[in-house]
Assembly symmetry: C2
Homo-oligomer: 323 residues x 2
């Protein structure tokens, strides 16, 4: 099976981490080389990578810092600094689960580098399982609406459907202001040989009303314990419309977080300049304000089915490397 | 009372029509000079003007051609050519009402030039009445969400509210792909001294959920006889969300058209390139399709109140100039 570059957008090679620069897609496929966790945090701040890319970046950063400093007396402090830096960078995403895991395991005497590599292999297998479960929900001739980008899972699902002799096509919302839908998802689906049509974010009701959409599939950056999800801004209103038009709304979830409900998830507000400019061109008059909530909460009752990523099953892989 | 340049964006001066080029706003305030109806049709095709601007352009074009050709034998044929050219340029808009009016009046022996000027004066007064009716629906401290651009009516409504000692603020959807919300509405509201915040089209549910919106006010390019409206793509989904969050949804209507219901209104599909490029920069990978319905239909049952523009009351002004 071929994977989208976005399925595993961050790679470890020797003493460096290579991050697929998502801001340059679809025009350039370029990786950014980082050598330490501070550079990694900075790449996240600049939205160079998202979602699974951030998970990989957090874990590879622990691995690098562990390898580099494992014999130092203050290794615990160093790892704690790494955790703090990642935990404060983007409020809506639940890095704390990962950072707690790494810190906890180190305290228990686990060899963090091997443990992390085992864990990530397990995670990869789990993601493939998740795509398989999702492909089982899709019928022949379905037209799927998706929003933003689900880190390489959509083309994988499309390929699995093809293996199952099911023909599927895709509508993708462009996903303003960062256009992850048109730049990333349309790109990876096209690369996978899929039939893909881009629409603006304000065309969802119209294409649903025209009968063009049979299922909605989106990702989730944060899954609360009651099934509410946080995902890219715009997900919530698509869920409201799917409910209105009685179209199934499926969510490819991230692992469950510490949040009890969606109310416990802090929503990141990003700088208004990212909304009011495009490629350096101002698209609004001077002095006008912009409001840019980067995520929204979709309540569990609007979700037809959660497709879980049960990371608990692979956490034990970290422990296999106990000293 | 001061008016937005968008309230009367097309002007007649001597033998020429001057069209405010909306595609250059908010960065440049520039008028395009046209001398005949073919140039006028071409300006509409290129989206240089919309909505009320198109109405003015149709009527001023008849006026110019009438003045230039009134003593020619084939004046009826010339006016019929003008009508045909406008009727075929944008399917969703109801120019036919206007072109039938002009042709019919000429057949009845009306002096078309004076008649049109009287009619447009009457139309202006009606539009001001419409803004007054709308301002009466607004409460102190309301925050109004609007979409696309309602041709100068929103700043007029804001000024009327100020006269009535009511403080109002505005949220404006940017309105992809042409950005009439951020480029035009935010601009004219800012010029009128209003508090205005731009959001992306996918942030509507989130700002509604946060309690930031107390009323929605939009325009309508076509009002069917049963109260369904056609308006800029995205209006329909805002109406669905307003219904979901129980927020009043008001429509500043154009005159009622010949369509019995929204189903009778043909929706214009515009070229995909207008969606997949921005300022000449491609924002999607090569080979990906785009779908760009330029309008959608909002059914009457989602509209809390229609604010009508009763043009029937002023049609008689055309007749005052009977030979």
């Amino acid at each position: 099976m071929k994977y989208s570059p976005l399925f595993w957008p961050v790679k470890l090679k020797g003493k460096f981490i290579y991050i697929l620069d998502e801001t340059l897609l679809p025009h350039k496929l370029k990786y950014i080389k980082v050598g330490n966790y501070k550079q990694a945090v900075s790449a996240i701040k600049q939205m160079k990578t998202r979602a699974i890319g951030q998970v990989l970046l957090v874990m590879y950063s622990f691995l690098l810092e562990y390898r580099r400093n494992q014999n130092k007396k203050n290794i615990a402090q160093i790892l704690s600094n790494v955790a703090d830096a990642f935990n404060s960078v983007r409020p809506t995403l639940s890095f704390k689960f990962l950072t707690d895991l790494a810190i906890g395991l180190h305290k228990q005497g686990v060899r963090l580098d091997n443990g992390i590599l085992n864990f990530l292999e397990g995670l990869k297998a789990k993601r493939i399982e998740q795509a398989k479960e999702c492909s089982g929900l899709i019928d022949d001739k379905d037209t799927i609406l998706t929003h933003c980008n689900v880190s390489g899972l959509m083309p994988l699902i499309a390929r699995l459907c093809r293996q199952q002799n099911k023909s599927v096509s895709f509508f993708v919302t462009e996903t303003r202001p960062y256009l992850q839908g048109s730049r990333l998802t349309a790109w990876e689906l096209k690369k996978a040989g899929c039939n893909v049509t881009v629409i603006a974010d304000n065309m969802v009701a119209e294409v649903m009303k025209e009968g063009k959409i049979s299922k909605v599939i989106v990702g989730a950056d944060n899954l609360a314990q009651n099934g509410d999800i946080a995902n890219k801004i715009g997900t919530y209103q698509i869920a409201i419309m799917a409910d209105y038009f009685k179209i199934p709304f499926y969510v490819l979830c991230s692992p469950v977080s510490l949040a009890k409900t969606g109310e416990d998830i802090q929503l990141e507000i990003r700088p208004e300049g990212e909304l009011l400019e495009f490629c350096g061109i101002s698209i609004a008059p001077k002095g006008v304000k912009g409001y840019y909530p980067a995520f929204d909460i979709t309540p569990s009752n609007l979700i037809t089915k959660h497709i879980y990523l049960n990371i608990g099953d692979v956490v034990h892989l970290l422990n296999q490397s106990k000293n």
